[in-house]
């Protein structure tokens, strides 16, 4: 008799939808159906039952092929690598539970690792900006209940956060927003006429790489100062008009994405967007929020925050202090500069998402990759250790893009004998202790 699991959390993006309904076979082994999820979320749950899933660790041999090894062999190899290496990059964490991260940090502190998460190539710029100027923000429910001006700047939820617009930002009716979409004015600022732009009441096409100048123009206009005729391809009349409209908002919100974090100026683009938001609070209520990508990249920042005081790129390599300097202790820079001796990747795929030059350097070092599935990184690693899918085959805490913590749910059993991230890291930690006790380092 198949059963339905309700209130399931979707472990894909930072929207962390928590209303999925999953139909599970009576033996708890297979997912039969997914309700309420977006196309991507549904695909993730469906992937669980795809054939050809790797169920045991694999080690690369001299001829480049991979042979199956036992978890114990893989754990021992990994622990030895960590203990031997003077400086190890421990990157990923965005797709696992906060509980697993804690164990990973304990290991890093013992072996001298540098713990970095996927923010490093995603919203790291936003974190730098917040470190510099703070951030006035709110929870997504506030947007749903109060917002009457919504700006999407350099983000494309229609593609990257498919249910964001219906759950929180454009269409939902809330306590003070009974008219839903009709009661909101939606702006979209982008260099492309995206599918999100098509949902907006007004699309402002900015020349690629001119966001900083345009945001500066918005701030200048807000103070009633003169502007050049056009800024970033936008006529000054339009800029004055929009700024005046924003001032009359009851509650405004700016959502921004990698259109700001990845383009020229990076953190400065967010920095000045935050300052525009701050300025708007002199006239009305305004908030700003990063459209965080991975479902638990925010959680990694939180756990690193309370344990070491930095949100990512935390350098524990000295073992007696925690340090943080984006540009030095960030993954891509560490790989570019050849600053680490070994790589430990977990719950991520830098092979697909880092620039190739960084991965070429990475592939020359001892590398262990922990991931439920085969990906571009596992195939350039010495060892691939498969684990249960967090949020599908095991639960654990995750943080939404607005930092709201939600406990993900287990809906089906992992394949027979497969370890979870927590179990695997605990075993590696124990092995590391044994080696260190023997004077390994």
């Amino acid at each position: 008799m198949p059963k339905e699991v309700t209130d399931v959390i979707c472990p894909f993006c930072g929207t962390l939808c928590d209303d999925l309904i999953i139909t599970v076979s009576d033996d708890n082994k297979t997912i039969l159906g997914v309700k309420n999820a977006c196309a991507i979320g549904a695909e993730k749950f469906n992937h669980q039952r795809l054939p050809g899933r790797v169920k045991r660790p694999r080690m690369r041999q001299a001829d480049g092929t991979y042979k199956e090894v036992s978890y114990d062999e893989a754990i021992d190899w990994t622990a030895n690598m960590l203990v031997k290496s003077r400086k190890t990059l421990m990157y990923g964490w965005a797709s696992t539970s906060c509980q697993a991260m804690s164990i990973g940090h304990d290991i890093a502190e013992k072996v001298g690792g540098i713990v970095d998460n996927c923010a490093t190539v995603c919203h790291g710029s936003s974190l730098i900006a917040i470190e510099d100027v703070g951030v006035p923000s709110c929870t997504l429910g506030e947007v749903k209940n109060r917002a009457d001006r919504v700006i999407f700047w350099g983000c494309n939820p229609a593609h990257a956060h498919p249910r964001h617009m219906s759950r929180y930002s454009i269409f939902p009716r809330g306590f003070f927003t009974v008219k839903g979409h009709k009661g909101r004015k939606i702006y979209c600022v982008d260099c492309r006429y995206t599918d999100t732009a098509k949902c907006a009441d007004e699309f402002i096409q900015v020349q690629q790489g001119y966001d900083y100048e345009l945001l500066n123009a918005f701030r200048t206009a807000a103070r009633g100062e003169v502007l050049p005729d056009t800024v970033g391809g936008v006529p000054k009349e339009k800029i004055y008009e929009i700024v005046e409209d924003l001032k009359t908002a009851r509650f405004g919100i700016i959502f921004f994405g990698m259109g700001l974090t990845h383009t020229m100026g990076r953190n400065h683009n967010i920095d000045i967007a935050i300052n525009l938001t701050r300025d708007m609070n002199d006239y009305t209520k305004f908030a700003i929020m990063a459209m965080r990508g991975h479902w638990n990249v925010t959680g990694s920042g939180q756990v690193l925050g309370w344990q070491y005081g930095f949100p990512y790129a935390v350098d524990l390599s000295r073992r007696d202090q925690a340090r943080h300097q984006t540009g030095e202790t960030t993954s891509v820079d560490l790989l570019n500069r050849g600053e680490v001796e070994a790589c430990f990747y977990i719950a991520t795929d830098p092979g697909a998402h880092f620039p190739i030059d960084a991965m070429i350097k990475s592939s020359k070092k001892p590398t262990v990759t922990v991931d439920p599935h085969i990906n571009c990184t596992t195939e350039i690693s010495d060892i691939h250790i498969p684990v249960a899918m967090v949020g599908v085959e095991v639960g654990g805490c995750a943080y939404r893009m607005d930092n709201v913590p939600i406990e993900t749910r287990k809906v089906v059993d992992p394949p027979e004998g497969m370890l979870t991230d927590e179990e695997l890291l605990t075993k590696i930690n124990q092995r590391v202790d044994e080696l260190l006790a023997k004077g390994g380092a």
Binding site: T6, D7, D18, C98, S102, E109, L127, I130, E131, D132, V133, G134, V135, P136, S137, C138, T139, L140, G141, E142, K144, N145, R146, R167, Y168, G174, F175, F176, R250, F251, R278, N281, T284, K285, A287, Q302, V303, L304, G305, W306, Q307, Y308, G309, F310, P311, L316, R319, D320, Q321, A322, R323, H324, C397, Y399, D402, N403, V404, P405, I406, E407
Partner: protein, 569 residues
Amino acid sequence: MSEYIIKNGHVFDPVQGIKGDKKDICVKDGKIIDKVGSGAKIIDASGKTVMAGALEIHAHVAGPKVNAGRWYRPEDKHFDSHKTAGITRIEGGKSIPTVFKTGYEYARMGFTFAMEAAMPPLYARHVHEEIHDTPIIDEAALPVFGNNWFILEYLKNQEIENTAAYIAWVMRQTKGYGVKVVNPGGTEAWAWGLNCLTIHDPVPYFEITPAEIIKGLMAANEYLGLPHSMHIHQNDLGNPGNYQTTIDTLKLAEGVKATNNFGRDQVMHSTHIQFHSYKGTNWGDFESGAKEVMDYVNKQKNLTIDTGNVTLDETTTMTADGPFEHHLHGLNHLKWFNVDVELETAAGVVPFIYDPNNAVFASQWAVGLEIALYAKDPMRCFITTDHPNAGPFTRYPRVYAWLMSEKYRNERLNSFKKADKVISATNLSGMDREITLYELAQMTRAGPAKALGLSKDYGGLKVGMNADIAIYNINPDKFPSDGAAIEKAFAQVAYLFKDGKICVEEGKIVDMGKKHTFWVDAKVKENKQVMHDVREKFLRYYSVNENNYSVPESYAPHQHIISVDATQA
């Protein structure tokens, strides 16, 4: 578990009225007992001071805004991250220590309990994740209610029973300890960029005043008979002339009686009252209102307060008083963090430098000390720094020293760049009271324990009580005359017993003890109305599902549940 006998120490225990007499304390199985066997380990405490473990009644040590303050201030721990040899983890952070340093530092100073002062229910899981990772000390957290939509709607119609039932539900969902109120009404107003600066300013849309919210929550708190009273951060914090609003608020407790089975007498705990005791109309003619406020507190017996002492450091302010942080950012232009929490509350964070050369900050320092020195009943006045708002909790030893040595605080007072202005604006100069060790034990142990409804097991050294014991290298017969020596002695205990185990020895962490999370489970009559409203609000207004709201047991592996039965109320 091993037995101990702490011999020949000078014991200070307000619970038994012991004022420094030499007395042996016996410990077994985590409790204080009357005698132990010959095999008991002997701790020689001769020439030392023995007190119960201290209880922190109000600090921001765990949760979303605390952590924002941590991670958005890398400069607060750059060059200030270290690891001491032994079993401890890396420690970092000056104004907002990491969870590890937080646990260690409290323990090193002789604390065994800390109350997280503001838990947004929607973020409860985060608060408990940090509490879970904070070593050694017991902790609890107060959910905030003063701007919660359910509360505003129920109290608009004086529905005390529904208010109580909802509070009980939230405390169970969030593993909360009591009723916290922050800038009642003002924080909801802040969601529109507004504020409530007096207790009679109406809350936008909800048509209710702060006074009505405060009265209603006091009533609901006593209806439930919770261990702690309503715990309030008042309206109009930090502004010249606010002492009048402060007294108006305190007056709301007149005639309200404490009903509980925990030996608690107060119905309102007014926190960091230093920030609420200012006269004058602007920062130019700013004056201390400590005397006026404390005169009222002294005669109104159903009130307790804590001080909120300014320590004159660079720190990080953080509060659920969203509009205040925005106001503060306008003054110092340092990075402003704000988050508004749907249906419930808000929070702000801004770094702040209490520069001693600034007459206002120096005066705030004086006001904080005045509060404690004016207190006639040390069992109702507790020492805090509203960590980290007025200063980091790691400065307690210095605050104690200022309070215990007139000479020490006068040295500080007279060496201010604007000493004359400070002296004329405050009453501190010429106050010759020096807090005694016994009074300190009242203000940091017995007092807070009683106010939190924990006096049966905590805050004292009576036989049968929990064996949380701090032993300081202080000889009362030769009490140090110089302030620096007092500071040093309180900064590092000779020994700290937590649940009968030695966790700290001469300032070194030797055991992580067994940390407990305290929360209150209040049983009320089945309330269909409230459960219906809960379902309704989650369906229509919350951004998470009701079934994903509650905090699972696994977040508090060693929970200490205090049960309250209000079904007969």
